[in-house]
């Protein structure tokens, strides 16, 4: 009980589900525990769809948990709690308000009087390095400056807890780095009027650079897979061997759970026909296979190295790796990506042969592809409406995921020339697209 009171945020056994297309519930967060105390920066690290943003929104009072308990300073969170402010990935600035007006907005809502409002807003603007921009409108600013406004707007209300939802992911590499170090400097100097920070990220290096504690989330449903303490002192150096070691171990941890999936069992979400597919362009997949097959990797690459060479975020490289793994062209394990025999063969084939191999793997390893092909073969008309498959997918996943899966199916199926798809009438068919007279 004592612990609960001293904790800023206390999350116990929180679950959250959203309605699926079929009307049932889809679990996105399962039994999450989390405590945030004063004076720490906590990171929630995970893939997209791991429910980390949902957890952040539960703490922000924007989403309510389906079950479990979420408290802020011992009080159950109903609606946005006092003393919690948020920084958004998209900045969420009001384009019709100037920098100063944007910063003052939160204070106005609290009913702070005009003079104090102005003083505090100017102080926050000054702190975050925005002086001179007070009367500018957001659209006149660069991305980095806009996010500074986002920070100033959150800091001006002097929150105990600052929530950050992937605050640097919409910025270019250089700008993001400047903003990160500025923020950490202010934090270390104790000049930020806040007690703790909770940030959501999918960037492993960012988490290691900034956080004292990292919670690694696994997907489907979102769960805390591991909690990692970062004991490195600030300012942290990305090239420091300890830093690299930590990054590598987190990569390994994040790929660990992505072992090849057990043979498809009907009815279990995440496998069989109900497997959610995330779109990856066949061009990018071929490119990745070629890169992996060539020097210096020769079929075996360390993920952080590969990610930095291709300038991809951890999230993106993992996503591509998983797609290749699903198609049995590569294998993910312990933070490494290795080509399979089929993958190596693919790298050396001509375009048409590649398509045939791709088609073969699609039908064999992606159950929904096999299903569509079977249905088209069986029907006398050799056509089937997309709705037929969408309905089936929605038994297992949300409407958005069903859409994404269908999009992937269409794009891969077209590349492999497994079937044709008419977007206008939303029908799959076996007709040869070349057969239509021009």
């Amino acid at each position: 009980m004592l612990d609960k009171a001293s904790a800023l945020i206390d999350i116990r056994g929180v679950c959250r589900s959203f309605p699926k297309g079929s009307g049932e519930e889809l679990l996105v967060l399962e039994k999450v525990d989390l405590t945030i105390r004063s004076g720490e920066i906590v990171g929630l690290l995970g893939r997209s769809g791991s429910g980390k943003s949902t957890l952040l929104r539960i703490i922000a009072g924007l989403v309510a948990p389906s079950s479990g308990q979420a408290t802020c300073r011992g009080e159950t969170i109903i609606g946005p709690p006092n003393g919690v402010a948020m920084v958004f990935q998209s900045f969420a600035l009001f384009p019709w308000l100037t920098v100063l007006q944007n910063v003052e907005l939160g204070l106005e809502a609290l009913g702070v009087d005009a003079t104090e409002r102005r003083t505090r807003a100017l102080a926050a603007i000054d702190l975050i390095g925005l002086d001179g921009f007070e009367s500018a409108y957001p659209k006149e600013l660069s991305g980095g400056m806009r996010q500074r406004v986002g920070f100033a707007r959150a800091l001006v209300v002097h929150p105990d807890l600052l929530l950050m939802d992937e605050p640097f992911s919409a910025l270019d590499v250089l700008t993001a780095e400047t903003l990160r170090t500025d923020l950490i400097d202010l934090w270390m100097e104790g000049r930020l009027p806040i007690k703790s920070i909770l940030m959501v990220t999918h960037n492993i290096e960012e988490a290691v650079l900034m956080c004292d504690r990292i919670l690694v989330f696994s997907s489907n449903p979102g769960r805390v897979a591991a909690e990692i303490k970062v004991e490195l002192t600030h300012p942290r150096n990305r090239l420091d061997p300890h830093f690299r070691q930590l990054v590598d171990s987190i990569y390994a941890r994040m790929t660990q759970r992505a072992e090849p999936k057990a043979p498809a069992i009907e009815g279990i979400p995440g496998s069989g026909v109900g497997m959610t597919l995330h779109h990856a362009s066949s061009n990018v997949l071929s490119g990745l296979i070629e890169t992996l097959a060539g020097a210096p990797y020769h079929g075996h690459a360390d993920l952080p190295v590969l990610a930095s060479q291709l300038q991809l975020e951890a999230d993106e490289i993992l996503h591509l790796g998983e797609s290749l793994q699903l198609l049995r062209f590569a294998q993910l394990s312990e933070g490494d990506l290795m080509l399979t025999e089929a993958g190596k063969r693919f790298a050396n084939l001509e375009t048409d042969a590649r398509k045939r191999l791709f088609a073969e793997h699609l039908v064999t390893y992606v159950p929904v592809m096999g299903l569509i092909r079977r249905v088209l073969d069986e029907r006398p008309s050799h056509t089937a409406p997309a709705a037929r498959f969408r309905n089936e997918l929605e038994d297992y996943m949300s409407e958005d995921y069903a859409d994404e899966t269908l999009k992937t199916v269409v794009s891969w199926g077209r590349y492999a020339e497994l079937f044709a798809y008419d977007e206008q009438s939303e029908t799959f068919s076996l007709e040869n697209p070349g057969g239509e007279s021009a």
Partner: protein, 577 residues
Amino acid sequence: MKPRYIRTAAIGRALRPNVWDVVALILVIGAMVLIVYGGEQTTAPLSELERTPVSLDPANLPLYALRTVLRMLLAIVCSTVFTFIYAAIAAKSRRAEMVMIPVLDILQSVPILGFLTFTVVFFMNLFPSQVLGAELASVFAIFTSQAWNMTFSMYQSMRNVPKDLEEATQSFHLSGWQRFWRLDVPFAMPGLIWNAMMSMSGGWFFVVASEAITVGNTTVTLPGIGSYVALGIQQQDLPAIFYAILAMLLVIIAYDQLLFRPIVAWADKFRFEQTASGEAPASWVLDLFRRTRALRALTLPFSAINRAISNLRVPLPELRPATKAKGRPSRLIDGVWIALILAGTAYAAWLSYRYLSASLGMPDVLIVIRDGLITLLRVAVLITLATLIWVPVGVWIGLRPKLAERIQPLAQFLAAFPANLAFPVFVVAIVSFRLNPNVWLSPLMILGTQWYILFNVIAGASAFPTDLREAASSLHLGGWRWWFKVIIPGIFPYYVTGAITASGGSWNASIVAEVASWGDTHLKATGLGAYIASATEAGDFPRVVLGIATMCILVTLFNRLVWRPLYAFGERRLRLG
């Protein structure tokens, strides 16, 4: 400290008026005087109208124009208030939305001049023997021509507020009232202003039509440009008609320059985009006001009031709670609500049936349907003709930027000009050449609305990407192939937008276009518009209701079966970029 020093100096400079202050001050005072003067006239008793009837002396025209403009202004204020309330309720309450949005959709297709028939009687009874009643009826007619699409635009904006801004307002504890003024209204502003502008264009037509109207025994002649023209028609005074057209031209130009341009330029900051756009709309009036120092100071109290209003602690019921764990709406209440709506609908249907069947029989229905189909045919033929003429012209102009820059304002202006003022000129021609009214009255229906097609096509052709044009010419696409594979798909979404407006406007115009007179000569074409017009004049309410209901059904069907699919197709397949 340095900043404070700079600030006091700035204030010191601000107090000294400059030349622009004088100009702007005169404009402001002039506007106030005109509003007060015009307003005084409306409280006069109705007998005043009879004592000083409308005269054809051109010296009176400025005053008449002023009265017309004031009606317009009042209507736009009413429309805006209505929009805020109606759209807010529809957007925030799911159950209200179920009824309010379809109602709005139908109201949009009710012919506006049809409303006039009922409201004249209603308002005249509300303020017996006062000019105010007639004025209100006129204002209400303009209101009905403006409010619906403004409300739709506001509602759509409110339902599409970006999620991150919504979360930001919640996260920073803004109350529902604050959120409305700080997020919903500014976000809806650009769409709202654009729609208000389009409404205004249409509104001139109705303000003119509503100033001189006869419903059964009630004849209203409000001083204004419309009644001036009506009198000119009665007295067969062609020069008077030209004076009125000239006055209207000046009024619309002034309205555009002094009111709408500045508002559009000012509202540019509400456009929801994170990067600065190519070119911002400019207005010399706005620049004038921004350059004046003392006048800018005058606006400070307004922004202070605005701020104070938005920060008021007004408790609003939380209608769409965002953070409910099990936010499943209660099925039972939904059921009761739907049952209530159905019961209400059934009662209304029974009431209408009883009212209409008392005096009308099956033959009447058949006549109305026949007339309706004739008018439908007219609209279809006219839109086709206008398309064949204005699409090539619009493309030709739109692909020449210099020319488009000059023609575009003219086309927009012509769309705003109330074509009914020019009707007499055509009627004179029909009378003197003894032409068949069934054929030759028809073009009047599209006289004012064809310009919507023109200026939308110009806009589409101007926006057509240069690289696509270059690709087409490098592939040697020419002739028919160029038209059907390149430019027509490129401008299609724009064309459909223009054609929808034009077709809606033509239906409305049919009520005044299918019947025309010049002195004692009365021309009448067969059609639903003429049917409604005659019934109105005779004060035959059951027939008016029947005619309007039929037109409403035809317009709705036409929109749903033709325009909406075309629009959806254009948006999905042919929208560039």
